[in-house]
Symmetry: D2
Subunit: 435 residues, 4 copies
């Protein structure tokens, strides 16, 4: 496709050497299209940019011979904008379907199809044999897409939601106009959980009232709220033949969650939603939806009204190519070590301060109780330029349990993938001063 005539410009032995080097560089890009898998070792930025540039040169707005007389021809005011969308000014999607190829944008369409393929190979490497789509919207809106698809395909009209204090799923449900039935949490020692039999009861009640429920369960959340028992919920959903959507916002960074997902996938899981920024090191704005049910994913993709900005999808592709599988596995390993470090330091601190580290199963975050006002503590940490910790008062009506009270005031600290050990050490140091 690229036939460059260098003959006679430099001595032929050097020319051959140069061509060999060029070829080996281009081969890195060719390999991506041949394999359509996440590379073992990440690509450098230069190669990734070149790959994006090549693809963007396939879109009609880059056609040197094009005649454009439509009203939506990806005309732009400034070259800055072309950079901001990775060259894909026509966005992604077709009015009919998010993942359908767009006739005006063959390059963007290939980019999107490739991203989804690579995403699937990435998930497969993590042990999840699923279909997947990258979405141009973040977790909240991605959940809305899944719930709306459940309504369309299965006539679901009520969302059973084992309560977690998370606005996005609640707003997603409200946005698409479905009713939500909350299932209350209970206290099990320090841990806050939703009893699976309560979920089952809620399903039965709705069915009895001739409704079509679906379940939106939560896999990843801040302690002391523990993960929903998605394996059992999947079995129940299977039994009652009702859709099951899992909110796994940061599920794919730790095997604790991945193992649960693997087991759940054996029963009824229509879709899992994870965040691209929380797991894949993209800027905020994209999501990933995955499932064994290819048909349901297609339904999800059909829900999206119109086209979307290409950037969130490009960001996902860039992360996958830039990290490579080995780096990601390494980061997962480090995350586990960081969590251990965090727990060790917090336990030390708890002893000193006569507090306790809450006994809650969570592979990412930990809680320490406080005798001070936790909201005040969090504000102080913010002013100390620490971002991330949350301070929750025991009597915060929506903070921990739904409407109930929790035994302790506490502070949540995270050691998510990508966190630096240095930052963990510093935050515990600062906590010591503030608590």
């Amino acid at each position: 496709m690229l036939d460059l005539n260098f003959t006679g410009l430099i001595p032929s032995n050097m020319e051959k050497r140069g061509e060999l080097t060029l070829k080996d560089n281009l081969a890195i890009i060719e390999e991506i299209f041949n394999q359509r898998k996440i590379p073992k070792e990440g690509l450098d930025d230069d190669k990734i940019k070149l790959l994006l540039k090549i693809l963007s040169l396939m879109d009609t707005d880059k056609d040197p011979k094009v005649i454009q007389i439509g009203e939506r021809e990806a005309r732009i005011a400034s070259k800055i904008q072309n950079e901001l969308v990775g060259g894909f000014c026509h966005g992604i999607g077709r009015s009919g379907n998010l993942i359908d190829a767009q006739p005006k944008a063959p390059g963007a369409s290939i980019m999107y199809a490739l991203t989804n393929k690579i995403l699937e190979s990435f998930l497969k490497n993590l042990g999840l044999k699923v279909n997947a789509i990258a979405t141009p919207v973040a977790t909240g809106m991605s959940l809305a897409l899944c719930l709306s698809a459940a309504r369309k395909k299965y006539h679901s009209n009520v969302v059973i939601y084992p309560y977690a204090s998370h606005k996005s799923p609640i707003k997603a449900t409200s946005f698409i106009g479905m009713r939500m039935r909350l299932v209350e949490t209970k206290l099990y020692g320090d841990a806050v959980r939703v009893d699976v039999s309560d979920i089952e009861d809620a399903i039965k009640k709705e069915i009895k009232e001739n409704n079509n429920p679906c379940v939106l369960s939560t896999l990843t959340f801040f302690p002391p709220r523990e993960s929903d028992d998605i394996v059992e919920i999947s079995k129940i959903c299977e039994e009652f033949s009702i859709p099951h959507i899992i909110n796994g916002a940061y599920a794919i960074q730790n095997n604790f969650y991945i193992d649960k997902l693997k087991k759940a996938f054996k029963h009824r899981v229509d879709a899992v939603v994870s965040s691209s920024d929380k797991n894949l090191f993209t800027p905020i704005g994209g999501g990933i939806i995955y499932s064994r049910d290819r048909e349901f994913l297609r339904e999800v993709s059909l829900c999206y009204p119109g086209r979307a900005c290409a950037t969130p999808v490009v960001n996902i592709l860039v992360s996958l190519l830039s990290l490579g599988m080995n780096k990601y596995l390494d980061l997962m390993k480090k995350q586990k070590e960081s969590k251990k470090l965090l727990d060790d330091l917090l336990n030390e601190l708890a002893k000193k301060k006569e507090e306790k580290v809450l006994n809650v199963k969570n592979p990412i975050s930990s809680c320490i109780t406080t005798k001070k006002d936790p909201v005040d503590v969090a504000a102080k940490l913010y002013n100390l330029r620490i971002t991330g910790p949350r301070g929750i008062r025991k009597n915060d009506k929506f903070g921990t349990c739904y409407l109930g009270e929790y035994p302790y005031d506490y502070i949540v600290v995270n050691s998510a993938i990508g966190v630096k050990n240095e930052d963990i050490m510093q935050v515990v140091e600062k906590l010591e001063k503030v608590l």
Copy 2:
């Protein structure tokens, strides 16, 4: 804020001259923050990039002293991604509200607030005294936000839709789970319109059945479908106290539409949705929603579940700063001239070919009849690398009228803002060969 010590590095008269030049350059950026209006003359790319850079250096992920231990800290895999979002890795919005300031992203929050201010000044210069928000999603999803807000605020449960053959509004309605009641089009000479009294009847019927209807009218569409009479519809909505959302996808590029909007705003218009790419020369992916009803706009903004990618909003800001008001007014003028050129050329062609240019009011697009298969003609034009024209068969069930037949097979050609006269001439030339 920037105190640079150049003393003694070069002779002081040159230093002063350099500082003066620097100051005048920075003053261009300061002026934007002081005025918060669209500049008369556009800024060059360098200044716009500098403005974005300064703002992005206010976000916590750019804080050189930050300690990050959260799970959503805008960590990124590659610098490419920082470029792709204009430096705003934390995106925009807060889980509570799209336009609320995000504590982790003061810079992105200012960027967004500034964009909305400048957008309002731009619309005011066009004669529209409205509140406005730039949305991180395109027209279809922006309509979904408006309809969902109408449901939340006014309990609307059915969308009255004077039929236009446009998938996005229909999908938007379906996505958010509202019922749609279509109102049929009728033929008035060549023109296809929806009778206002039919809309009124539909409203009455729904109200009678104890429903809460809202109206989604269409201002901009391909001929032969003419604009809905939004002024009359606004009066009716006022009378019945029901929400009125206007789909004005490419409304702000031509005074024909703007004048209608001005009149409609005197009655009931809850929100108008326009596309950022069709009007403002951004890549696809953003929208603008505007209204005199600030409260309703806030409701719209509250609908969005979670945060979003900053890029579509940055693109809108870049367009407004890059074009400036004078350039935009000039482009509007040119668009009018282009439409005249297009009509003149099509009329000539119609004479030659014994076809006719449909007699339909539309300031952007025109139709010419064809004796050949219009779908075939459009395909041929696509292969000739012409993007934009549409070929519609008279008996296409959803092509022109809803379920009805139209008297002619025809081809639609557009002269939207930004189209080149050269391209218009070329497309008519090619049409001559193909028709």
Copy 3:
């Protein structure tokens, strides 16, 4: 060389369309390597960057499989630096010869060879059938290279210099350690010229003293100093068999100079030096040297000690590709018109102020006399943010004639290629206030 497997990612008709667009985009680059001529129409920045990127991927420091254990392996501290040299971290040249291919940098070597080819085609289009090399140093140092080559090849030991008040040639001569013999200027009406017979006398004297003179003549200079009669000088140099170097700093932007060069090339011209920034719209730092004598050019290239930064050469390539021939011819036409405008405005001003426009042949610059202190006038203009004009006192010992006095105090104003008519109008307006 680039075999991208898109199969199955999108429908094959779209794939074909995308491939066609990509191919046509890449063809623009292929064409440059096939033709090795300045394109008629300039390329856009994106294509030029892609061409540079492809070439830079041929250098050994970009080799993904390279093992580098030398001390000069183009290791860099920051990616910024890679951008600053267009990707060519190994620079250009080999210790032996500036234009020889560098084994570590096949890509940079091709880039340089290509630049020289395109430069030659550009000059040919201007009517100059010459060999040419782009130099990584500006005019002054390029003259030093030519003079040093003349010494090496012809044992020249003295430079005959018809005096022009220009530091660079004098410093170039001093730098390379040659003696300079000045030939005095004379007054012919308003014009200052060097008599050709005086040059001939100087040559004879030097030869008589057993020296080997060469001549460094000046084609382009500020009025009232007129061009040296390079045609006659070329004849004399031919007759005496001595080298002749022409300083044609901004010679290729106007046919007045080009015509003189064409005629001079029929006799003895060893090399002409022109500035890349004054003629070709590059940043300062590069030069071009051209001649019919390929052997002499090679000698010039052999003079350069070591390698050099690639940037000045890349800048020349970028200009040639970006402008294209048609744009350059258009700019030449506009320059002529600007000069006419300048003269008209200055004549008007002269009448008003009872001054006169000096009667001197110069296609670029004009002089107006002043009764005020010209140095003071120039300083005022600088403070009014006007760059370019020069104010010369009649009794400035080195300002106009060598050691002599000129009849008038005067101000020089230029209308060089690229100047804006608006700026010409403004400068004369300001002059009116200041004079």
Copy 4:
């Protein structure tokens, strides 16, 4: 200088937090101008780019109110070119002097003055209390500048050159038209050195013939040629009052050389030339010249005829800011370790192959003898994509000693600053196959 009015756009506590972050980011840049020293920790690319952008906005070609009517106004054909020179389109230097401030370019002038200050602080941190200038030309041309300055200031007319097989110094001397007197090397065991008393003899001879010699000594070279005894040479030059220029191409990366320089500086050293790419990780094209004799440096700077491209100087600034002192010291430490690794591996290899590692003092490079044709070995290594090693035949007339024969065929391998241990291991592995 930058007064940004953010009031009212976001809540004031967030605004303050954002302003604090911005301020701390800008403080990093302010600190550079306040300290004018190499920072301990390097700056990230974003900050460096911002610093360059700010400075470039001081040049007259960036003045939004400028009127340009000169012939050299830094007009450019493409924005690519502005990027290629770091925004400094006016280059550096004034026709009178390389380091003088250029009235058209206050920003570039400050950039250059700042670079020299930072360079001096960097050298001071290495123990060299000297004045220094960054040059826009590489080592060879920088030597030419020094020699020409010696001629101008001290009327030197012959360069005494203790022979090293290096083309650049020889070409530099020839370029500026000075005679060179070679002093022959001798064999001391494996090592090749020039006897200091031979240098003294050469000086005396030239003086006797009424010439004004200067000495160009070599500090850094490939083994088996060892460093000239610059301390003794400095003493001799002091005694005879003749200029002494040291070619220290890669001298500042290792204390072996730095210590020698410190001692030599106590006697007569007029200037040392080092390469910016070999020591400071810039692309090829810049140099640094340093000396205790500020006056001589000024003379050097006055030699340069005209202005020069800013890029080589910007590259030096970028390296100093990007690396920071700590990183550089760390790299020096690693270089020493790499050299040890290299020697260990080569000694092992020598045993296996019954060759020997030459016993030569050199802190960077090592030689291993070979029974094969060394030129052939080097070619094979080149084809194995190894860059850096040199293969020298014992009877190469200019390869080791001047005109003489060396006892062994050998291969030189380097472990210069920045080399990777991995590459050292690989090259010895490949050597094992090839030898």
